[in-house]
């Protein structure tokens, strides 16, 4: 994918939701495409370079999540939607700088709306608040396979190629084992907190 290629909003949304290579490519495309907002927000809020970069990446990841989960319904242009999220994220960073409070500026460790609804349905609200993170305890291969499947949305055949497995069936079998391992790790962690 070349940066000179231009994509309509429909195409952007379609590719983000498609997963796999298309998703990875379009994410990088949007990363470069929306960089023009950086100087504008920097001028408004005067944040240091590193914090601008962090806010920009957080905002883009957040927007991608909204697109994939259907929270973004295309009522506005993708770029306008991103600008709003980026501006709000940067304002939060600016407020955090000003007040030096332990304020959460990103949602990375929170469940999405659907997960929260489910957890509330089966559990109490307190336990629905945060993700218990154990991915770093997984082995490298398992981590790669689960992320390719669970986040990037690659097909089993693609996962087999990417993780050097013989075929899609091996990838499926590995994914099953890795997912089981992840659930066991979570089970241990949830009841040892």
């Amino acid at each position: 994918m070349r940066q000179e290629d231009k994509f309509s909003d429909e195409e952007l949304i379609k590719r983000v939701r498609a997963g796999g290579k298309e998703f990875e490519d379009i994410s990088m495309y949007m990363f470069h495409e929306f960089k023009g907002f950086l100087p504008k927000i920097k001028e408004k809020l005067n944040l240091p370079q590193q914090q601008m970069q962090d806010a920009y990446s957080d905002a883009l990841v957040k927007m991608i999540r909204h697109v994939r989960e259907g929270s973004f319904r295309g009522d506005s242009k993708v770029s306008s939607y991103f600008y709003t999220i980026f501006y709000n994220t940067a304002v939060d960073v600016s407020r955090k700088n000003a007040s030096n409070k332990n304020m959460q500026t990103q949602e990375l460790l929170e469940h999405n709306a659907r997960e929260r609804d489910l957890l509330v349905l089966i559990d109490n609200k307190d336990e629905a608040a945060q993700v218990i993170s154990v991915m770093s305890s997984m082995g490298g291969v398992c981590q790669r396979i689960l992320m390719d499947w669970g986040y990037y949305g690659y097909s089993m055949a693609e996962i087999a190629t990417r993780s050097d497995l013989s075929n899609a069936e091996s990838a499926r079998s590995m994914k099953y084992k890795c997912l089981k391992k992840l659930r066991e790790l979570l089970n241990t962690k949830m009841y040892n907190v």
Binding site: P39, A98, I122, M135, M147, Y152, L186
Partner: protein, 269 residues
């Protein structure tokens, strides 16, 4: 676990992803929800599965952010448009000529002009302080595919608030007020929106009451302090406004310290 039970469990586990994504038929959804009610073990598995998916998403997002981190260049300053010398000099020469001519005609009216300038300055300063120009706090408009009724109401309120339709936003907030659980969990963002909406509607008492609900431990406290100061300012309650604004000015780390000074100056005029 008997063979039948194991197979049944395997069957439900195979449905979990589609269930979480809301992709099951209504029949299958009913089937899995009944099983969840009856089987605490399945509930546990679903809880772990939700956590597992969240783990994959969080790890994926972190990885994506790392990829982005390598793609940044130094952020350029916003470049002001360059003028060529002639474009700058020509109007200056013309202006000087006009000013010279005007000097002879209006030299006896100098005093009047000065008073007009002061008036213009005051007008400009006041217009910056018009209630309508007060910036609203930002709220994200997030929707999920399967919103709960309360979350749906909140999204509606946010939508109205962002569109500056404060009466509509407030009327939805009033219906949310009866949900004690929602209020308990979201007192900060709720009271801030209620306070600012009422401030914009010039319902100063209601605004002050809502904003005063936000205590100093709440992450929205700095914003509540600022809008409470503005509420007293626009209610022309000078004493309370002064106290609030002075508190903000004293707090060197407050995100509105500079603007609070401006409002304090205006109060002492």
């Amino acid at each position: 676990m008997s063979q039948d039970k194991t197979e049944r469990m395997e069957y439900f586990i195979s449905l979990l992803d589609d269930y979480i994504d809301g992709k099951l038929s209504s029949g299958q959804t009913g089937e899995i929800e009944r099983a969840l009610e009856q089987d605490p073990f399945l509930k546990e598995v679903l809880k772990q599965h939700v956590q597992a998916r969240a783990n994959m998403r969080v790890a994926g997002e972190e990885e994506l952010k790392k990829k982005f981190a390598d793609g940044f260049d130094p952020i350029p300053e916003v470049i002001q448009p360059k003028f060529n010398l002639l474009k700058i000099l020509l109007p200056i020469i013309l202006l000087l000529g006009l000013a010279g001519a005007a000097y002879f005609y209006f030299s006896n009216q100098e005093e009047t002009q000065e008073s007009r300038q002061v008036y213009a300055h005051e007008e400009e300063s006041s217009s910056r302080m018009l209630l309508a120009s007060v910036e609203d706090p930002s709220y994200d408009l997030l929707r999920s595919q399967k919103d709960t009724l309360v979350a749906d109401k909140w999204q509606q309120a946010v939508q109205y608030f962002i569109s500056q339709e404060y009466i509509e936003a407030d009327s939805i907030l009033i219906t949310l007020e009866t949900d004690t659980s929602f209020i308990k969990d979201h007192i900060g963002k709720f009271s801030l929106m209620k306070g600012v909406a009422n401030l914009k509607m010039k319902e100063h008492n209601a605004a002050a009451k809502a904003l005063s609900q936000i205590t100093s431990e709440n992450p929205y406290f700095d914003q509540a302090q600022w809008y409470l100061a503005l509420t007293y300012f626009y209610a022309e309650d000078k004493e309370k406004a002064k106290v609030q604004l002075e508190n903000i000015v004293k707090d060197k780390s407050h995100y509105r310290q500079g603007q609070a000074k401006t409002y304090l100056d205006k109060l002492s005029e």
